[in-house]
Symmetry: C2
Subunit: 320 residues, 2 copies
């Protein structure tokens, strides 16, 4: 199986994961989680969004949060919806900003209440603000694999937006399966097309699990040459505009699978699992991540970290 040697994970739990939660998570606890994932080895964090506090009250503490993240070991990205958000993010010390445009007209209108062309028109200002301050811009293409309103999204509609990002200076582009409509062959085709057309642009994949395919899509993307993925601690998240949307790929599950295949992530499950369990404690409900419940493969580690198998091991010892 053709696989990359190393993969980079972008941790998006505190942004994509939290944004649709009504109950406000205190800034101190957001920072605690960010510090814990960085301590576990995560080096790229999408920490927050600089959006209207009315639209997303959960992220109203964006500037305060960015002021208190542990610097030096990771880079911190912030999502911005417009030039104003870009200015705020730069002022707050974001290392990267993320801009989003949907590949379907219907989803872009639903998401930001304007046309794709209107979104593209604001890109110049956003890139100018960021790049002149030495801040990288990551361009994200929402509904890159299917749109909940329109259905299929033509490849050309996705690549057209990528081209707009690249020509303005984006070095990384995210293709997002915003509502979990992708399957592995579609993903392989998109990744291959992207890499052929934009060989110098770093591709990031962002998969949601609305139809149970996110991890298989990750595998297909890996095989097609992708080496960077958005994941969320505990698998939290979901597009707030889609009812019953399922979460992101769970960071620990992805680390487990990659390491089990011999692909390096630089992330230590023994530190990451307690972070996911702490997040579950903070949020107060069961998270969809699986490895945080079952532990690593090694039975001693699984027992040590999760208590899994301990009772059984003891019973067995008593039997023998």
């Amino acid at each position: 199986m053709q696989l990359p040697e190393k993969v980079t994970l972008r941790e998006v739990a505190m942004r994509d994961g939290l944004q649709s939660l009504k109950h406000f998570v205190p800034t101190e606890q957001k920072r605690e989680i960010i510090a814990a994932v960085v301590e576990a080895g995560i080096r790229r964090v999408e920490a927050t969004s600089f959006v209207s506090p009315k639209a997303v009250p959960q992220l109203k503490d964006a500037a305060e949060l960015m002021g208190g993240v542990p610097r030096g070991r990771a880079t911190y990205a912030a999502l911005v919806p417009n030039a104003r958000g870009a200015r705020d993010a730069v002022a707050a010390g974001a290392d990267e900003i993320v801009v989003v445009i949907s590949a379907s007209e219907a989803h872009n209108r639903e998401n930001v209440r304007r046309s794709i062309d209107a979104s593209l028109a604001e890109l110049d200002a956003v890139f100018e603000i960021a790049l002149s301050a030495g801040v990288d811009v990551i361009g994200s293409v929402a509904v890159s694999f299917g749109c909940p309103f329109q259905g299929d999204v033509p490849e050309a509609d996705v690549l057209r937006i990528v081209a707009q990002y690249v020509r303005r200076g984006a070095r990384s582009v995210i293709l997002a399966d915003t509502t979990g409509m992708a399957g592995p062959t579609r993903v392989a085709r998109r990744v291959t097309a992207f890499r052929e057309r934009f060989p110098d642009t770093h591709l990031v994949l962002h998969f949601h699990n609305n139809r149970g395919t996110a991890m298989a899509n990750l595998l297909a993307a890996l095989q097609a040459g992708a080496d960077c993925f958005d994941t969320a601690l505990g698998g939290i998240g979901g597009c707030p505009y889609v009812p019953q949307a399922a979460g992101n790929l769970a960071t620990a599950d992805v680390v487990f699978m990659l390491e089990e295949m011999g692909v390096e992530t630089g992330v230590d499950l023994q530190k990451l699992i307690p972070a996911a369990r702490r997040l579950e404690e903070i949020l107060g409900f069961t998270l969809p991540g699986q490895v945080m419940k079952s532990g690593p493969r090694d039975p001693r580690l699984a027992a040590h970290i999760c208590g899994i198998g301990k009772a059984l091991a003891q019973r067995q010892q008593a039997d023998s």
Copy 2:
């Protein structure tokens, strides 16, 4: 991507899915679900186990259930732990019986309280009972990809048990990832080794999702040439001897992914999704299946079956 044209799914919800549930599901409701999945196009059903009613009270109605399944459109398998179970299953009209031995000594002792050799010793009687009645035997190898007590399980230990099944006349063999310890490369290696050594034996894969990798494992198995999988409606299930065990692959999620890749399953999601929702209603708790919540890719179908996107579509129409 190398994929088979067609895949067969074995529906195991009523056996593996229910066996660890304490609340008894009435026989009539089990039959209703079986009839619904057969109506949706499922052609192989593992319907129950002929085990001690004390050990698994949920399946105490095995004979009664087998007496009332819709014959003629699907074959019905029953799991049996021993010769007595085999006699009961054959008498009740099972088309196939499934026998299970673990590839690790520790798991076999935990599961059936005897050694692998003791389990192998009973195989002759079980095969004799079944084959002389014209009933096929499917041999299942538990913990084929890792054991919660021992950790790694050598390939030779798995293939040794397969060989015992094959030489007694099993035409199908199940490799089971009983506690979800497999990753895709391990799966690809096992499938390849199996197909090289037993080219005339039909391989079935049975994946649990304890570590979030089940769907990626299915993709890897497909690419290595596998074309038959155990799945459970709604993704219910889990080994009752492993705490916090996660479920089986959800049938609708697998059908969705395969059809989205152009692989035929013969199963109609429009009929399968309501069956999964009915099972959720019967059980009274939220099931892990995703497509049963999000619907197919086609927005009109998703709205029709699951109500997904309907509200949004209406809002959009009002906007435009």
